[in-house]
Symmetry: C2
Subunit: 335 residues, 2 copies
């Protein structure tokens, strides 16, 4: 057992895309667990677009990471030393452990996970917060009904790829993904069963939606904001629901967020745009995860993780893959 | 009885604010009613911000007015000749008669009104579509609950002034109006019973809302869009509902609509933004009008009309008062 822990701490609040100098990689001795504590050897860390918001000062749906703090991140790993009866040595756990190699925990907010049901990294994605976000955003906030046309942006990402698959499983009439690049679009249609995919890098999304969503859009699940949100607003069906899950195109904007200029189509279409934060649905996570695990077991839902090797030192460069749209599926950093 | 009818017909689709040359004022002989028809002497015409949208080409919640057509407008008047048993001579009526002095009608979409209950122009405002818009926008789309903080923009206008009063009647905890000018703000607080008013011409709305809505906003009823919508977005309570009723600040924009840059606070606040069109609530109009009439009779709701003399020839200059924010209460053109 190593006696040194490497941590990634916020050195400065980034302007625009985070850069290496915004972080300090520090070495700390690994403490032994006290009464009611345990130590986790973190094996995988979750990288999410929302992390960019946590780096900013000011109130949001969650407190910011303070300068000097270990960067907040969800992780999975194995208990290697324990003075806590609920988390014995060798058990596998999920928690908000931060970007580091080892975590000392008192068990608050930590869940035990079962590596025999799915690969451990899946608990950061499809069986974790991104899967929950997709499930509740689509079915609860988006109130998807059988026969609906569902359009999702960031469709090859961790959340979007699950949104589209759950929509098909739940009887959507048509599921359209918007993603960047031919490879992602092929994957959505050929592997995941989307009815159509629009490559926003090669097509005018507004025009492509006329063909891809001929009956207009009942549920638009937005992960990206910006011009793609504006394009979707031009194709709403009467009573459409827009789910605002994220806005990855805007998180690094240095000259202000681009508001949706076409928002008045909410009026024309008697449509709604609603923000969702996954934590609000925590009391129903267990049930949803069970349903998703069933779909994975019977093959109706494919979970894909984009696992990057490199350890915590590779955090910043790996995170940038999200904003460059380079990942397919859930982006995970292997420690 | 005059044998000549003056009509205002769309001559050209306006760019920006409509100007006199966008209209033709034509004289036409007044036809006699055929079987099943009647002639209305129009006494008052309704002027509404939404008219600006009807002048544009393209699909909206209602067909555009075509170049050459009489401008669409709701009006009230008295039947002066009739071959229709349902609308005898001397009866008072409401209908979409257009900007003209007389209208020939077959009765479709026309309602008889009772001038003994309220002044006839009130049927264009508080007892008409603007009252219905306020009622259903606040209570149905906005789902206002007792104790809510309600903020309304365009608060001294036809819809806004009724929204605030209904909110008070229905038990809102706090009602704040946003309007332009000290006179309007005084009227809202001293005459209509708003708890506070913000003069957007003299105050920074974003800062003023901190004091005026200390518990944040549960329902924001938006008539204006633009910077005021963006300011309201910074003060949402958890689960807030934004009602998009109109965007008078944007209707004459020649360089595109300004989208709400702060729309991501929908996510932070788990809030929604929903468009409403009053016609969708038509089956419930009668019941709502009865309730509103009761409030007017017991003095708990004040209806104010800003009646401009001048006849149909004054249509364009009178309409511009709406976009300059010069009216208090419902703007009505007396024929």
């Amino acid at each position: 057992m190593s006696t040194t822990n490497h941590q990634v701490r916020l050195a400065a609040r980034p302007t625009g895309l985070p850069k290496p100098s915004d972080w300090n990689i520090v070495e700390e001795p690994l403490p032994a667990p006290g009464e009611g504590e345990f130590v986790v050897a973190i094996s995988h860390l979750s990288l999410d677009p929302a992390m960019r918001g946590w780096m900013n000062a000011g109130a949001s749906y969650i407190d910011p990471v303070e300068v000097g703090d270990v960067m907040r991140a969800a992780g999975v790993g194995q208990v290697i030393a324990s003075e806590h009866p609920g988390f014995p040595v060798d058990s596998y756990v999920y928690g908000t452990f931060g970007i580091q190699e080892w975590a000392l925990s008192d068990g608050r907010g930590v869940l035990r996970i079962d590596p025999s049901l799915a690969p451990i990294a899946t608990y950061l994605g499809t069986l974790g917060m991104t899967g929950m976000t997709a499930y509740f955003g689509l079915l609860d906030t988006g109130a998807m009904k059988e026969g609906d046309t569902v359009v999702v942006s960031g469709a090859a990402g961790a959340v979007g790829s699950v949104v589209g698959q759950i929509a098909k499983i739940k009887g959507a009439g048509r599921v359209v993904g918007i993603a960047g690049g031919a490879e992602k679009c092929r994957w959505l249609v050929e592997e995941l069963g989307f009815d159509a995919a629009i490559d926003y890098k090669a097509e005018d999304v507004r025009i492509a939606l006329r063909t891809a969503a001929p009956d207009r859009i009942d549920v638009y699940f937005d992960n990206v904001g910006g011009e793609i949100l504006d394009a979707a607003l031009t194709r709403l069906a009467r009573g459409a629901r827009i789910v605002i899950c994220g806005a990855v195109s805007q998180y690094n904007a240095t000259d202000g967020v681009q508001g949706p200029a076409n928002y008045l189509s909410l009026l024309v279409s008697r449509a709604s745009m609603t923000g969702m934060v996954v934590f609000d649905f925590a009391p129903k996570f267990r049930e949803a995860a069970g349903e998703i695990a069933g779909w994975m077991q019977d093959g109706s839902l494919i979970s894909r993780e984009d696992i990057v090797e490199g350890g915590v030192a590779a955090f910043n460069e790996t995170l940038l893959k999200l904003f460059a749209g380079e990942n397919i599926g859930k982006l995970v950093l292997k420690v």
